[in-house]
Amino acid sequence: MIDIKLLNLFIMVLTCFITLGCEQKSNDTLKSGLIYCSEGSPENFNPQTTTSSITIDASGRQIYDRLLELNPITHEIVPSLAKNWTSNPEGTVYNFFLRDDVSFHNTQYFTPNRNLNSDDIIFSFNRWRVKSHPFHDVADSYPYMQTQQLNLLIEDIIRISDHQIQIRLVQPSNSFIEQLATDYMVILSAEYGAQLSLKEEKQLIDTQPVGTGPFKFQEYIKDQYIRFKVHENYWGDKPKLSQLVYDITPQSSTRLAKLLSAECDVISYPTASEMLILQDKDGINVQSKTPENTSYWAFNTLKPPFDQKIVRQALALAIDKQQIYKTIYYGTAFPADSLLPPSSWAYNNKLTQYEYDPVKAKELLIQAGIKSGFEMEIWAPNIERAYNPNAIKMAEVIKANLALVGISVTIIDFEWTALRKKLSMNEHDSVLFGWNADMSDPDNYLRPVLSCSAAIIGINRAAWCEPKFDELLVNAELSDSLEKRKAYLIQAQEVLNTELPLFPIAHSLSFIAKQDNIHNVRFEAFSAISFKYAEKN
């Protein structure tokens, strides 16, 4: 009996060694596939329906194409699905000429019978633009387009021919062409839509996506992985990868470990504290993205006492930002005084600073009738964001700061999707959140974050609606010269600085880290991550 057991043991050990020896042998499946360890689970696979960068990273540049693209280096708008475009001198009528060689994904759930034509563009745009569109009500809201009021800007979209469409605007817009290149302006398949309507399974359009992009969707298991396969008939340069897998790994330290053990080819957002390890490591390199983002501490202005300006100001004065830059960002962020980063042309550099001053903070709190021992909550996501590598730790620093002025803080950490859902119900006291810009236009920072329309659809984390502020934004939009526009935007930032619905904290550099044999991963400002050109060798 013992002998048999011992034999088993021996075999067991032997198998271990055999597997060891053979592990080095690689094969095609491994060579032509890439594993990207991402930080969270997407809500669905359609950027139209969200502003969550996890969802956009998972779908925006992988599954879909847009009419136009932004050249990441020159920041020029270049053709994509539209070969070229013309506009009338007033800038209110645009004609787009489409490519005729663009095929949609052939997946387990959909087989396309035709190439891309004008119907698909109209279908995709009308989905968020027209309330009577059969797919409009499938998503709760289209937060980006609604806050940018693109649905109001476009008067009509007309089909001129199979491969020409005309978009008419209500008024000229400086940013319209640039908007078309943002992650949100994806083109869906009208034919797939019709098929789903027929089957009465409309909701599948966002969870089982079909697009024209370099990769097609294969499989998604929440909290585990997303699998994409190459789109064989892609109209542009054929992607070098045959398979792309997102390995969902919320813990940053685990992502780092998996990169070091070569289980991930690319990892998202290593935290600032981990950069030191990565820089010294052979075989690994780091790519960074300019700080086109803002992390902020938003107060729920619907909830007393945070509805009082003076309370919000007092809380801001009680925070030692320098400590945050040191302990959370390790010097990889720039201080934020405004929601706009200093690189923006509309940045207001004359704002009064909220310098760390606990004594004054305490005075203001007493003035507002807040007694020592006041309790409040800070909500924070439990994952890294481009603008905030460690929101929970930041919440702890703030908690310690506030303890000095007699406020006791409870930190509540949430998983990302759950947090976004909860926030839209406005039950929070305050939250550590942030914004990634989608285009260089300053409006992109202000309107989606703090406008009244953002408050209505539940993505304004301060639940703040100030007509004066919105009016300034509209005036800026309508002004004919850059000078006037800048003047309005500077005023708008002043309003924010005194009202302080949110307290800007930092503009952070963000990073991805990858193995040395991976090349050409596009990780750039104003765009979601893209593996279209990625190579492994």
């Binding site: 088993n8 699998r227 470990a257 998983e415």
Partner: protein
Amino acid sequence: MFVYLIRRLNLLITTLFLISLFSFSLGHFFPGDPVINFSGQQSLDYDEYEALSQTLGMNQSYFEQYIIYLRRILDGDLGLSFSTQTPLIDDVIRVMPASIELSFYALLLTLVLGLPLGLWAGIKQHKLVDKIIFTLATMANSVPIFWSGLIFILIFSLNNQIFPMSGRLNLLYEVPSQTGFLLMDIFLADMPNKLAVYQDALTHLVLPTLTLAILPTTLLIGMMRSSVVNVMRSPYIKAALTKGLSTRELISRHVFRNAIVPIIPQFSLLFNILMTSTMITEIIFSWPGIGHWLIEAIYQRDYPAIQATLLLVASIMIMITVVLDILHMLVNPLARQTLHAK
């Protein structure tokens, strides 16, 4: 024997009753609306809410609500997950095999290592071998599993890339899930270079299995050792020795069998430890099983999922304990005797 069965069954039912009662009360204790907590349905309009509230018996007494709850559970309706809005039972069926697979291999390893080592140590009581085994076992027993798991990762994954540290398989290999048991699925799958896939799966298994097996193995060594020591002292061993049996025959005929029977009921302790350790191991090695799933559910404040996991895991544990007890009674005549003497 019949009386005994009835008694065990009684224990089983009472405990299950208490667990279900506790699980039921969680629906009311968790923050939020009990209708939503029980059903998991989050986007309800007024009519749907009313209808659901009616089916769940929310306006009736707690007793009737409990009966309705039980009926739903027995029908396999655990409600919907808050985060995915899909039936929880599907999720459980998806993640359970991964946990069972891991625990099974760990248990196998425990038996393969624990029984012979315990036997050896018991026979050579107070000799050098015994001391070495006992010392090693005590040391391994005192090491917390999350620490040993991380040390394994540090040595075998980070410093030397010998074994992978996460998951069940390199994600680039696409194995369709048919049974949920990976090695079986690979066997059934229609794919090229299966051998490479098997190797990959096995290398993924090594570290979690080792980590998971440490604690139960040390316990089993201890149990087996003391049981063997007891047996070795008994008169029939002396008799067998004087009859002139070789050590080998003695061990295989008398010692092993007689030593293993009394420790069968203690196996349920092994299962207990295995179950809790599985959860920790799954987190350390990102193993997509029920423990990993539960922790995600806790992060996402997914109350129906927490409630369902609690109910399922606790019920499974109880059932294993009772089944082992009964099994012990069937194979151990001595235990039956004690029972009759009462």
